[in-house]
């Protein structure tokens, strides 16, 4: 132990341990809630998609103005990245995750392998969402409100599942990274906030011309 306190120690060792305990207690609830929200959004998107398929003139409930427009998003190629509508992936994936999260919240102990599978799932979701954000902002140039709900949920899922797996040892970290990890666990909310604000800023920048026309 060095005599200089590490950043994590300024608030006392207790704070870092508290945060880790908080994560351990809350992770199930966080996964369940975020997955449920994303699941609901995926279901709505799927329903809107079906309506659109049945009636090409249908204007989706979330086509509010030129920028907030599900219609242009849903009709894009990117909306079927794997050859079938993306929401299908969400319905299956988030549905499964919601059940897993609820089980954890109710006290079921998952083995390390299960946690690594959840980590793989949310990591894939995170990468996919990042790609979708890029496509939405810079290729399709429109935003779809329900999709943005999924973005937020996936950011939360990825942040918290990763932090939990790192802090609980499911993903092993070298001792030298321990202080950094403790910091990250203590400031879990800051990490998620920074991620989400980054997306907000990208949106503001990408559609600046449009926002400017609003009075």
């Amino acid at each position: 132990m060095s005599t200089e306190p590490s950043l994590a120690e300024i608030g006392g060792r207790g704070a870092a341990a508290d945060s880790a305990r908080f994560l351990g207690r809350a992770i199930g609830v966080i996964i369940a809630l975020a997955s449920l929200v994303a699941f609901a959004a995926a279901v709505i998107l799927m329903v809107e998609k079906l309506m659109l398929i049945n009636d090409p003139g249908y204007v989706p409930s979330c086509s509010i103005n030129p920028i907030l427009s599900c219609g242009s998003i849903m009709e894009s190629d990117q909306a079927e990245a794997f050859g079938f509508p993306n929401p299908l992936l969400g319905i299956v994936g988030f549905g499964t995750l919601a059940i897993a999260g609820a089980s954890v919240a109710l006290g079921v102990k998952f083995p390390r392998r299960a946690w690594l599978a959840i980590q793989a799932a949310v990591s894939f979701a995170f990468l996919f969402v990042c790609w979708l954000i890029f496509q939405s902002l810079y290729r399709i140039e429109a935003l779809c409100p329900y999709c943005m709900v999924v973005w937020v949920a996936v950011f939360a899922l990825f942040t918290y599942v990763t932090l939990f797996n790192l802090s609980s040892g499911n993903i092993r970290t070298p001792a030298s990274l321990k202080p950094a990890l403790e910091m990250a666990v203590r400031y879990h909310g800051v990490i998620l906030t920074v991620g989400l604000l980054a997306v907000v800023l990208l949106i503001a920048e990408a559609f600046w011309d449009y926002w400017r026309t609003l009075p």
Binding site: P56, V59, G189, V194, R212, T213
Partner: protein, 215 residues
């Protein structure tokens, strides 16, 4: 409150504050110009219907690539048919920056109007929107083909499309729209009053009937 929550909240406030500051500094319509003395209808505005009196003035700001405008199109065609010669119905260009071919389409319609085919090209654009809308590539060539199909003089059409005056004419409509607070399309004004987004046929005809019966 934990430090985690404090820092997260502080970041959110910082971004909001920064956004507001930046916004108020730069605010004002994006697309180049705002008309100084905006008019809903100008002498050179294209009329789909002209009445002998001035009792009903219907003005639609539209974008040929906008899906909501396409959704509104059948309603407006029904109104035009129903009230031909009894109301003034003007179309104003309002190409949105988010669409790649909005500007091209508006210029094509304006060029067609030079050969007396405003109506035909206006209808053609909406009938074919599915074929060319949402494309990232220029569809200028396809619009020349439309002109040919409508029996227009192709060379004259091309001259008019490329004439800077045509672009100016479109920009002038847009400047009026900007000044009148048009934010998206379609924006429909009835006797100077902006109607709610995507008015139904019933709502429009009810209002128009009431105006026609006045005095």
């Amino acid at each position: 409150m934990t430090q985690n929550a404090k820092i997260s909240l502080a970041l959110v406030f910082l971004v909001i504050l920064g956004g507001i500051t930046f916004f108020s500094l730069e605010s004002g319509p994006a697309s180049s110009e705002v008309a100084e003395n905006p008019e809903l209808v100008r002498a050179d505005s294209h009329m789909l219907s002209t009445a002998e009196d001035d009792r009903v003035n219907l003005v639609e700001f539209l974008d040929f690539e906008c899906e909501a405008c396409l959704a509104q199109f059948p309603t407006m065609e029904r109104i035009r048919e129903e009230y031909a010669g009894r109301i003034n119905f003007a179309i104003r260009y309002f190409p949105l920056p988010g669409h790649s071919n909005s500007e091209n389409a508006a210029k094509a319609v304006e060029a067609a109007s030079k050969q007396g085919a405003f109506e035909e090209m206006y209808v053609k654009m909406y009938e074919t929107q599915g074929e060319w809308g949402e494309s990232q590539d220029s569809k200028a060539d396809l619009f020349v083909e439309f002109a040919r199909e409508l029996g227009l003089d192709e060379r004259q059409f091309l001259n008019d499309v490329n004439d800077p005056k045509t672009a100016e004419r479109v920009a002038k409509d847009q400047a009026d729209g900007n000044a009148l607070g048009v934010q998206g399309t379609p924006t429909i004004f009835l006797n100077g009053e902006e109607l709610p987004s995507l008015p139904s046929y019933e709502m429009l005809s009810e209002k128009i009937d009431a105006l026609l019966e006045e005095k």
